[in-house]
């Protein structure tokens, strides 16, 4: 069977990850950072990205040890039947984390924007679009992410430039006034939301090129974007930002270009595109994990399963308070990030290393998981 060893370049891959990560910045606000000073969030985000580098280390090590081998296959090779549990953990985490964020977006639509049409149908439509992308393959999502990346930067850049005119330095508060506590909490909150580490663990084998360098480029880019966003939130909205559930939307709502009064609809439109990319890449990863659990299943089944789990998590988040408390809780997310970002790759890496030294593995592998 003819297989392609790598399907996307490292640059394309990390652009896709940037879009996926930036899609969640719509939910950035002082409440999600533990309250208080938004400016400290800039330091929190930087710290989270640095810790993220440590989280990423086992993933990169594993890729170096088993180049081109997707994590579900590497896990099965290293842990035998227990490897399926690793795949299952990734599938559940990807579905829960991304479904929760989708649910949060539904809450945002229902409570803040209040459109004339059903927010649930919008979510289903968004998920179906993402599923189409995942079905056509990771290359498809990555290429689309390249275009969305440009549109996203143009859209947010426009809003940032317009709102920058309203920036008032009086709104800025001194940082670290109350010590380091909030910064550390904010860093944990940022890290908890970086669920793309799980995507990276599963999908990185499909990217070629220098990965560590690109990873740090991605981390720096994400930090820069969040930093500008937080600075504008703090400088333009001031204490008003603290009263908002979604201050980024509030920021977009005050944009006014001459006779055009508001640009928030365009802004949310661009955000929806980014969310589709995020869901698409997560579903592609979910499908790969499903194939790790049930190797003989058809690719479409895995995709449907991943999409159904995400939708269930999204509706649970939007409709049930207890589910929302659990699925959007920083603690659960942080545990998920450490488990899927660092602990599980490390658990696969160590036995894989022993097997390699015994001469059982280590050869360059072809990607077996059907991602196309």
């Amino acid at each position: 069977m003819e297989t392609t060893k790598h399907t996307v370049s490292a640059r394309q891959f990390f652009v896709m990850m940037f879009v996926s990560h930036a899609a969640l910045s719509l939910f950035t606000g002082s409440r999600s950072l533990g309250g208080g000073n938004l400016l400290e969030g800039i330091f929190s985000c930087g710290l989270a990205q640095l810790v993220g580098g440590a989280v990423m280390w086992p993933i990169l090590l594993l890729q170096r040890r088993c180049p081109g081998l997707p994590l579900p296959q590497a896990a099965e090779q290293a842990l035998g039947k227990w490897g399926k549990l690793v795949s299952a953990a990734y599938l559940l985490y990807l579905a829960a984390a991304n479904g929760a964020f989708l649910g949060l977006f539904q809450i945002f639509l229902q409570d803040t924007v209040n459109p004339e049409f059903s927010a649930s149908v919008t979510i289903v439509l968004l998920l179906l679009t993402a599923a189409y992308g995942a079905w056509r393959g990771i290359e498809c999502v990555a290429r689309c992410a390249g275009v969305v990346f440009v549109l996203f930067l143009l859209g947010t850049g426009l809003v940032f430039c317009i709102t920058a005119a309203r920036f008032e330095s009086e709104n800025l508060r001194p940082v670290f006034y109350d010590g380091w506590g909030q910064t550390l909490y904010g860093a944990a909150a940022f890290l908890a939301r970086t669920s793309v580490y799980a995507d990276m663990a599963v999908l990185l084998p499909f990217a070629k090129g220098v990965r560590a360098r690109h990873f740090w480029g991605w981390a720096l880019g994400c930090w820069g974007f969040i930093a500008v966003l937080l600075l504008l939130l703090a400088g333009c909205l001031g204490p008003y930002a603290d009263t908002q559930n979604f201050p980024v939307y509030a920021l977009s709502a005050i944009t006014e270009v001459r006779s055009m009064q508001r640009l928030d609809a365009v802004f949310i439109g661009v955000w929806i595109m980014a969310l589709i990319v995020r869901m698409g890449s997560a579903m592609a990863a979910g499908r790969a994990c499903f194939a790790g659990i049930f190797p003989k299943s058809r690719p479409g089944v895995g995709l449907c399963m991943a999409a159904a789990l995400m939708l269930a998590a999204a509706f649970a988040t939007a409709e049930s308070r207890s589910a929302r408390m659990f699925l959007l809780g920083a603690g659960a997310h942080l545990a998920g990030v450490f488990l899927c970002g660092a602990a599980l790759p490390l658990a696969v890496f160590l036995p894989a290393g022993r097997q390699k030294s015994k001469g059982k593995g280590g050869a360059a592998h072809e990607s077996q998981t059907p991602l196309r």
Partner: protein, 483 residues
């Protein structure tokens, strides 16, 4: 299977006569060549009777072939006939196909081979400028229905031995001849082999146009990875960049593969004008594409769901107009969209003399009276009209654009701007997933390569740079490398 020529002239003639029963165009001329029986077969209308008489019949009737049957054909070939295009053929199936392609066949008693002569003489259209691809400064000739003439038009422009024309055939019933045209050493051998393979796998019964084959050369998707042109200069330009052209007998359209999405915005005129103007025109086309695809959807989305996006005065004007009409803006625009498409189709199909009447009655009379009667509002009518005009700026994309317009209109009407963005992402995903012979359709935009984007996508470099930095289609970013 019909077998081979037997050498028994009565049996061989009977075979052809039986196959062409009730075919009044079938011509059979019996001859006696110094005691040796012979027959000349041809189809009326496909051959030039003058050439047959002067170059074949007259010399044959004066000939005295040898008694030895084995030496007869060699004698006729070498000493009697002076036809440039002649060959021996034994298979009766092939002879039938050749006969129907305008060849004449000579059967000689005692010979196990037939002689075939290229004496085609059917009428063909002159190389007029294609109406679908009118250029301001480009050449004024276009392909015709004869693929041999088309081959000559390309050869006249590319005087190199690297230019290859591989003969092939499709259609189990029509036996349509075609030619694969490419530049050896420039075109990727994998792409050429891929085209060859796909054409070989083509299971059509009849192929009456290039469009029949396009479906066999592309992957599923809204946008095609196969280009079509009627201009020889465009074909030459494309094959110089490593593409493969497929010339099909009976159609002036030539297929081009691989064909990238950005090529839909490129015309020959872009390369004949100054670079800055070419870049300006190209950006106009990108804008026209955007207007044509999204304007109705965005108009309905904004007017119905997000009026705050509009300037106050415009918003009030639209609201005022909408007050006068009975339908909501979504339904009204949808109605106008369908009305326009009907008028366009009617204008295309109506006899030429009625075409302008249809346009005037449809465009001016119906449009104006509908607005005056308060059935539809002027902004909606203007939106649909602007969309229609913009679509012709990128005429290659007219088919997908007309469908996209409808989809975005519905999405915008139901889900507002967000519906349009979801639709746009779906289109982007579809474009990203489609490739043409291993080359991503969105290349070099995504996967991105700055040099190629600045070379001939975002701008058009001057010829001094274009000629130095060659960009073959197989060198585009994201081209699948086989393991």
């Amino acid at each position: 299977m019909a077998g081979t020529v037997t050498g028994d002239i009565r049996r061989d003639k009977a075979f052809f006569e039986q196959r062409f029963t009730n075919a009044m165009d079938f011509m059979l001329r019996d001859m006696d060549l110094g005691g040796v029986k012979a027959a000349l077969l041809a189809l009326d209308g496909l051959v030039s009777k003058q050439i047959i008489t002067l170059s074949i019949l007259n010399p044959l009737l004066a000939a005295r072939p040898p008694k030895d049957p084995r030496a007869r054909l060699s004698y006729i070939e070498e000493q009697v006939l002076g036809s440039m295009e002649q060959k021996r053929e034994r298979s009766l199936d092939t002879l039938l196909t050749l006969l129907m392609s305008g060849f004449a066949i000579l059967l000689v008693e005692g010979c196990g081979d037939a002689l075939v002569f290229g004496v085609q003489g059917f009428e063909t259209r002159g190389p007029e400028e294609p109406q679908n691809e009118v250029m301001q400064r480009g050449a004024k000739d276009g392909f015709t229905e004869s693929y041999q003439n088309n081959i000559a038009m390309i050869r006249r422009r590319m005087k190199t031995t690297a230019l290859k024309f591989e003969k092939a055939q499709v259609g189990s019933e029509s036996h349509t001849p075609l030619a694969l045209c490419y530049l050896e050493g420039v075109a990727s051998p994998e792409i050429v082999a891929g085209v060859r393979e796909k054409l070989r796998a083509c299971d059509l019964e009849t192929a009456l146009g290039a469009g029949y084959l396009a479906g066999y050369l592309e992957r599923r998707g809204l946008f095609s990875g196969v280009g079509q042109t009627e201009r020889p200069d465009v074909v030459c330009g494309k094959i110089a960049e490593g593409r493969v052209a497929v010339l099909v007998e009976g159609t002036p359209s030539v297929l081009l593969v691989p064909f990238l999405f950005v090529e839909n915005f490129q015309t020959m005129d872009d390369y004949l004008t100054r670079p800055f103007y070419a870049a300006f025109i190209r950006w106009l086309k990108y804008f026209a594409f955007f207007v044509s695809a999204f304007l109705p959807g965005l108009y309905v989305a904004i007017a119905a769901h997000h009026p705050e996006l509009l300037p106050e005065s415009l918003m009030l004007k639209i609201a005022g107009e909408e007050m006068r009409t009975p339908f909501p803006v979504f339904l009204e625009t949808l109605l106008l969209y369908f009305l326009y498409e009907i008028l366009r189709e009617a204008g295309l199909r109506a006899p030429k003399s009625l075409g302008s009447t249809v346009s005037i009655v449809g465009g001016l009379v119906i449009g104006e009276t509908a607005v005056e009667a308060g059935v539809v509002s002027a902004p909606s009518l203007m939106t649909v009209a602007l969309t229609a005009v913009a679509g012709y700026a990128v005429s290659r994309l007219y088919e997908p654009l007309s469908l996209l317009r409808l989809v975005f209109l519905i999405l915008g009407g139901i889900f507002g701007v967000w519906g349009v963005t979801i639709g746009l992402t779906l289109v982007l995903l579809d474009l990203s997933a489609t490739g043409s012979f291993g080359v991503p359709l969105l290349s070099p935009v995504s996967p991105f390569r700055a040099r190629l984007v600045w070379r001939d996508v975002a701008a058009r470099e001057p010829w001094k740079q274009l000629s130095k930095r060659r960009a073959r289609v197989q060198d585009m970013p994201g081209v699948e490398k086989k393991s």
